[in-house]
Structure formats: structure tokens, C-alpha cells
Symmetry: C2
Subunit: 474 residues, 2 copies
């Protein structure tokens, strides 16, 4: 009899093994420390193992925790200040982002990560600069992190439309130094629970030398590049102005694309460019709600998959989404693509669930660790209440309606329990490793300061939201 | 000093009065019986009124309850059996709908209505036949109802593609009799809390004589017609086969369109047809998630509004949406239209909030009763938690981010309190006028029976979901 840390009895379990959703009826999970050690019949498991804690989850749905492939958690403190506008970066973000302190950013990260975890996300795919606070929080609360540290040459300031970004060597060095320092401090920490990636912000934001250097460093350190790719007209304009080339052909010529390249968005990629990068085995992160809300566009994920590419989902940021909720990403990914292709059958529920779990793990290169419930993999597991209006009733014959309702009806608050790397982070909706009320109050305190500081520039720009305030529409 | 039933202190209140969202800071609401009697400063209200109950909602957002303009609540018991498929009615609904008893339908209605109310809906815009159970539940729990009773001549059976519906006089009479009986029993019950409308299912489902008769009866009884209009290719095909006409020109010639006509969907209406009906002052109900999921389409609400039409939102049905959640409808309406028009500014948050409240009240012809917080109107009010990740932080300067976060980030479970017609239906997320667990168990019991009975036809049809079951994708 082996003594282990946790045994979970399930009725409806989706392992996400294989090419479907891996449904298993009435199985038991055995977990020791951070890992799943066995999945089997209750009698077999109980004859082999005893556990410190045994959970009866037979009235819940049990599945792998969600993997959010691309987030800017530091923007959490700016939730709701940038949407329904023409120029997201200039009109929406700039007045607020430029007056946000490093501490405010960390407060935003804690808010965004807490939100995501309560919605069932067990892997935080964060991206940005000034990431120490976010990494410390991820480290502390026990979730998985796939964190890319931003590298760029372009100074952060307000640019006019059509103005070339100003590259600065010192600034570039500072960002690269941060990436290397955080890589050294956090990469593969706690049994590979945290991965550090290099995050060149986009081909338009780095000088060529830095682009090449980052690629080389990532290869030397056996980690990945996580990079916005063909993310929009703004990027294409910068590239054409500076190099008279579009991003994808130029990076392809530089040998930038391989299986260790995670491309974010691809909103502006042509069909031909999608084929080029898919052929090179890059992976794609699709941020449906963010790109839909900010750009009114549906990125070419269907095309990418057609070309044998792997796609994961991401929630991007709170100002322009406005939430970190993989339920919302799964539903939107399905329906946006149905609308794009005028087809009710494209992007079915099971496919978007895969894109939020195992396919996102593959896209990020962490599928040997997580993304499915499987012996030897990390215990990254969520329970979803079935005894709740959005998941009721449950049909098991002639078809199971559980996944369609998970994707199209559930909202996030049905997540009852969150386990990451074998540790219970949330139990019966109560966070065990962080103080939610403290995080909310902290973010509110910083927001109060940011609002006052942002007012002057916000009113000078006089964008859509400034006008909506005057018109009584906010 | 007048003694009234309820006083509510608010900090952030949105009245939805005027042409925007009617923001009011730090006001107090006085409610007596079913009606709002005053909105004013706390001191003024408290010098004039004392109340049986005083609620401090200053840490909540206070706004009018949502109005769901079009639902088939009886389908609640079939949640999740019909999506990601080619032929929603035949492949998805038919195997299950044909074996669903009247009692099962009522169980579905109770589930769908409970779900909607917990998500902040105070007006249930139900539509269907066999509506006694739903109406009794609406009556009992105290929410507002705008219920159309379906009238049709076409027999309910499985039709082949391109086969004309079979009209049956006796069946037609039975449906009309139900509509008249329920009209007599429920219309204007409890101080106009319940409205009964006539619901000809669609121009393709009724013979011409019945169409004319229903219109006349609605006029005589001073109620409205609530009708699927140009809802899709299936309807247009039937109309062309039977009359060699499309729906809108034919109904227009019959004098069918006026301010008392509520048109549902308009998915298949041409731009010219939209102009025709908008000119006649009909109103439109837009079911974004349902039409997106079932048809991969975005109905012409923007066109309709451009032609001075009023649009309300609806959640349609649980098998093919798959939820009754106006938060989901507001966000999807905004983003689907941004995608349709490749524009980030179209359909801003404030506009979809209006479409879920005051504009939907106008569309249904109940705006003298509800849809905004206003002296003399019914107290249909919800409180939304602000101290929750999806609504945090709150900016008040230089812009309020509350409505963008309500529409784009909140999910439904932030609704803390629901008041309809002055009665507290839900308080601190606990339903006071219905037993949720009983409703869930009841729906589950009927679903278990339906599943077994539906299996034979479901497997014979062997649609997408039958194949997904075999492929391990459900």
C-alpha cells in the first residue's frame, strides 16, 4: 500500500488524451506530489494507494485545467479603459499605460491571475516587461507559468500615425537584461512549473541585430520565442516603412521560424503567409475576444489548422477583452469562426476545448508536462459544477451534452476546484493560496491613482471614450 | 412621513433614462409596492419616507433588470443537444423535441427562467406553444412576463428538405384556442406584470386565413404580434414554394407591419426588406448567440437601427445558444457586429446595454412599465457586485469603465440581487421565490427519460453529434 497525497473519485472525466476529448466514466485519479500517478477503476486504485486527502468529485465534471496561451496580466489594473475606440494603443492605452507604476502593474497581474485561476486556468501564459512581480505571484500561489519577457528596441512614447518607432540601444539592452535575469532566476523552477520564454514584442519593435540576438539566445538556452506576429496594419506599416518588407517573408528569410516559435495573433497574415509559417512548424496563439473587440477581426486559425498547424487560445488583456476567462475564449472562438465562414459546423465545441487545454500545451511546448490528464503528467486539474443551471441537465444518451454546455453555456463561476501541479489552489470556489479581497483592494487603490494621472492626456486626445463621457454614455 | 416598502441607497446607479445610460452618483431609490416612487438624494428621500426594508447597495452597481426579448424556455430541458450541426431543426431538435412531454417542457421552462433570473433578467420574453406551465411559473415567482403563444397551421413532424409543410385546420384551431385561453387568463395580470402576445410562428407556418385572423385578433385585443420574420433560408424556401413570394413583401401587402409587430431575427432579410419593415415601425429582436451558433450569421440589426428601428436582445433557446444570459448577449452583439463590419467602434457597450434594457422594453411595447429606473415605473432592478475580479477596478475619472466591464467582462454570477415589480426575487445570490435545486433535479429527471426515447431517431439520422459520439469528441 503506497501512501500518496491525493485521490479523486470522478464520474464524468475528460482526460483530453487522444484526438478527441478522452471521456472516461467513473474513474479514479491518484496523485502524488505534483504528478498524476494513476488513472483507473476505484477498486484498483484503492487496493494500491492510500491518500492524505480523498475527494469525491462524482457530482462534478473533471478535466485538465485551462492553459491561457497569451496574456498581459499587468494590464489587469486597466480593465475596461480601452474598447469601442478607433486606435486602441494611442487613444485607449497610452493615457493610462504611461502613468502606471511598476507596483501598479504587479497589482494588475495579481488581479488578472486571480481572475484567470478562479475561471479554471492553471497555466498563466503571461507576456510583458517588468515581470518580476507577476513571476513572484505565480511562484507563490502555485500555478503553472509560461512567461515571456518582452524584448524591444523601440522607446515607449506616443507615436503619430505613420511615424517610425525610435530605436534605442540602451533601452534595448535594458529589456534584454531583464529577460536574461528572469530566465536565470525562474526558468524551470519548481520542477519545470515555470518556463521563461524570450518575448521579442514584434518584428516592428526590435532592430535587426537584436532580433537575431534574441533568437540565438533562445536557441542556446533551449527555450522558445513568444512573439506577436503579423498582428495588424500598424505592424505592417512599420515594416514596409523601415524595410520595404512584410514581417513574415522577412523573418522567414532570417530563419526565424521553427518549432520553437510561438506566433501570437497572425491577424494580418495573408493565406500565403499562414502557409509559410505553418510549414515551418511554428505554433499559433489565437486571442479571439481581444482581436474581435479591438480590431473587429477573426485571425486565420482555421487556415493555420488546415495547414497542419497547432493553435492554442489566449485572453490577451483586460483593457480590450475585457476578462481573463477561457470559457469566453472557447465560445467566442467557435462562434466567431462560424460567422467568418458562414458555417454552423466549423469550430465545434470539442475543438475549442482542445485549443484551451492540450493543443495550447502543444503550442507552448509544455505538453509533456500538462494539457491532459495522464499518468506521469502534472496534476493540473479543475472540477466544474454540474448541478448548476448553465450545465443542467446532463445527457449521457444518445449523446453527451457536457462539452457543448461547458463551451457554450458555462461562464467560469461553475469552476469549483482548481489544482495546479498537485496543489489545491481553489477549493469550493475559495482561493487557498491568495487573498482575493486584498488583491481587489490593492488594484482599486492603484487605479484611483492612475485615473487622476491619466486625465490630462486622456482629455487632450479626446477620443471616443472622452466623448462618450460627455454624452452620458459611460 | 410616508411608510413605503423599500429604500435602496446606491453609489453607482444607471437609470437608462434619456439617450445614454443615465448615470447617477450617490442617489437613493424609494419603492412602494411594485413601483418606484422617487429617486433622489438620500436626505430628501429619508425626510419624506420610511421603509419596511432599507438596503445599502453602495458597494454594488444598480441598474434596471434585463429584458430578454425572445426565449423558448420550454427548450431548457434540451440544453446542449443541438449545436455544431448542419440542420438544427431536423438533425438537432427533432429527435428530442418529438418525445418531450408537456411536463418536461414545463420543467425546461422553470430551468430556463431560473437561469435567466439568476443572470439578472427581470422580464421573460417567452415564446412557444403549451405555455400554461411557463406562465404559471412566471406568475408564481414574480418576474415580469411578455409571453407570446404560438399559433401555426403546420403539423409538427419531420419534413424532408424542400417538402412543403402540411397545414391542418384542427391543429391550427387548437393553437389559436390556446392563445385565446391564455390571453384571457393571464393578459395584464397583477397590474400588467404579465403581457400575452399572439405568436404566429412565422409566415411559412400559417395558412393565409389564419395569418389574417391572428392579426385581427391582436388588434381587437390591443396586444401585439410577436413573430419570427425572415428567419432563414428554410422560411424563404417554403414561401417561394407556396406563394412564389418572399415573406416581407407578402406580409407588407397584407398590411401586417405596424408598431404592434415584433419581428424576431430578420436573419434572411435583404437590406431593402429591412428598410421596408423599419419604415412601418415594427420592432426587432436580435438573438446574436443563437443565430451565430446555429446559422453562422449576424442579423441586420445595424441596418435596422440606421433606418430608425428599435432593437431588443433575446437569448432564444438552450439547445443552440446554449444559455439564457443577457451578459453573453450584450457582449456577443457588440463583438459580432464589430466583426461583421470590421469596425472596433460599431455597437459600443452602452448601446448593447440599452438593447438589453430600455430599447428592449420599447421593442416589446412595455417601456411605460419597465426598462429604466424612473419614478412611476415598475421596480425591476438588479444589483451587480463591483467587488469581484471581472468588475475590478472601478474607474470614475477620467472615464467610467463600469459599463464596458459590465458588458465585456461580467458573466452573470456578479448579479447579487434581483427585484421584479417591487418584489425581491433573488437576494445575495439566493433565490427567494423558487427552489433552485428542485428545479435542477426535476429537469434532470425529464432529460433522463427524453434521452432514452430520443435514441432511436437520433441514431437513425446519424447527424454530426451521433458521429462525434462515435469519434470520442463528446
Amino acid at each position: 500500500m503506497k501512501h500518496i497525497s491525493l485521490i479523486i473519485h470522478t464520474k464524468h472525466m475528460y482526460t483530453l488524451q487522444g484526438s478527441g476529448v478522452g471521456y472516461e466514466f467513473g474513474k479514479t485519479l491518484a496523485i502524488d506530489g505534483s504528478k498524476i500517478v494513476a488513472i483507473g477503476n476505484s477498486d484498483d486504485i484503492l487496493s494500491e494507494y492510500t491518500a492524505y486527502k480523498i475527494i469525491d468529485a462524482t457530482d462534478k465534471l473533471v478535466l485538465p485545467g485551462f492553459i491561457d496561451g497569451h496574456m498581459h496580466t499587468g494590464h489587469g489594473v486597466l480593465r475596461g479603459v480601452a474598447q469601442d475606440i478607433n486606435n486602441w494603443m494611442h487613444e485607449g492605452m497610452a493615457p493610462f499605460e504611461t502613468v502606471r507604476s511598476s507596483q501598479a502593474k504587479t497589482a494588475g497581474s495579481e488581479l488578472a491571475i486571480a481572475e484567470a485561476v478562479l475561471n479554471g486556468t492553471t497555466t498563466i501564459g503571461d507576456d510583458g516587461s517588468d515581470m518580476l512581480g507577476a513571476l513572484q505571484f505565480i511562484d507563490k500561489i502555485g500555478v503553472r507559468g509560461n512567461v515571456s519577457v518582452r524584448v524591444r528596441s523601440a522607446l515607449i512614447k506616443t507615436y503619430k500615425d505613420g511615424e517610425l518607432y525610435v530605436f534605442d540601444e540602451n533601452y534595448a539592452k535594458k529589456t534584454l537584461d531583464e529577460a536574461l535575469a528572469l530566465f536565470n532566476q525562474f526558468h524551470n523552477k519548481d520542477g519545470e512549473r515555470i518556463k521563461i520564454r524570450f518575448g521579442p514584442q514584434g518584428a516592428d519593435f526590435l532592430d535587426l541585430e537584436l532580433l537575431e540576438k534574441v533568437k540565438r539566445l533562445a536557441q542556446e538556452r533551449k527555450t522558445k520565442i513568444h512573439m506577436h506576429l503579423a498582428q495588424g496594419i500598424r505592424e505592417s506599416k512599420q515594416m514596409l516603412l523601415r524595410y520595404q518588407r512584410r514581417t513574415i517573408p522577412m523573418l522567414d528569410e532570417m530563419g526565424y521560424f521553427d518549432k520553437d516559435f510561438i506566433g501570437i495573433h497572425l491577424t494580418d497574415a495573408t493565406d500565403e503567409e499562414v502557409q509559410v509559417v505553418a510549414k515551418r512548424n511554428i505554433s499559433m496563439i489565437l486571442c479571439s475576444n481581444s482581436i474581435g473587440l479591438i480590431n473587429g477581426q477573426v485571425p486565420p486559425a482555421v487556415e493555420f489548422i488546415k495547414n497542419a498547424g497547432v493553435v492554442g487560445l489566449g485572453s490577451d488583456q483586460a483593457p480590450g477583452n475585457n476578462c481573463h476567462n477561457m470559457f469566453a475564449e472557447m465560445k467566442s472562438t467557435a462562434v466567431f469562426n462560424k460567422i467568418k465562414y458562414s458555417s454552423s459546423t466549423i469550430m465545434p465545441a470539442w475543438q475549442t476545448l482542445r485549443m484551451a487545454t492540450i493543443d495550447c500545451a502543444k503550442a507552448l511546448g509544455i505538453d509533456s508536462l500538462t494539457g491532459s490528464l495522464e499518468e506521469g503528467k502534472s496534476a493540473d486539474i479543475i472540477f466544474v459544477d454540474l448541478n448548476t443551471p448553465s450545465m443542467c441537465p446532463v445527457y449521457t444518451t444518445p449523446m453527451r451534452n457536457i462539452i457543448p454546455n461547458l463551451v457554450y453555456s458555462a461562464r467560469g463561476n461553475e469552476v469549483n476546484t482548481v489544482i495546479a501541479n498537485g496543489k489545491i489552489i481553489v477549493e469550493n470556489r475559495v482561493p487557498l493560496t491568495f487573498e482575493l479581497q486584498e488583491i481587489l483592494a490593492n488594484a482599486q487603490g492603484y487605479a484611483d491613482q492612475i485615473g487622476v494621472k491619466a486625465a490630462k492626456v486622456f482629455n487632450e486626445i479626446n477620443g471616443m471614450n472622452a466623448r462618450y463621457m460627455k454624452e452620458g454614455k459611460l
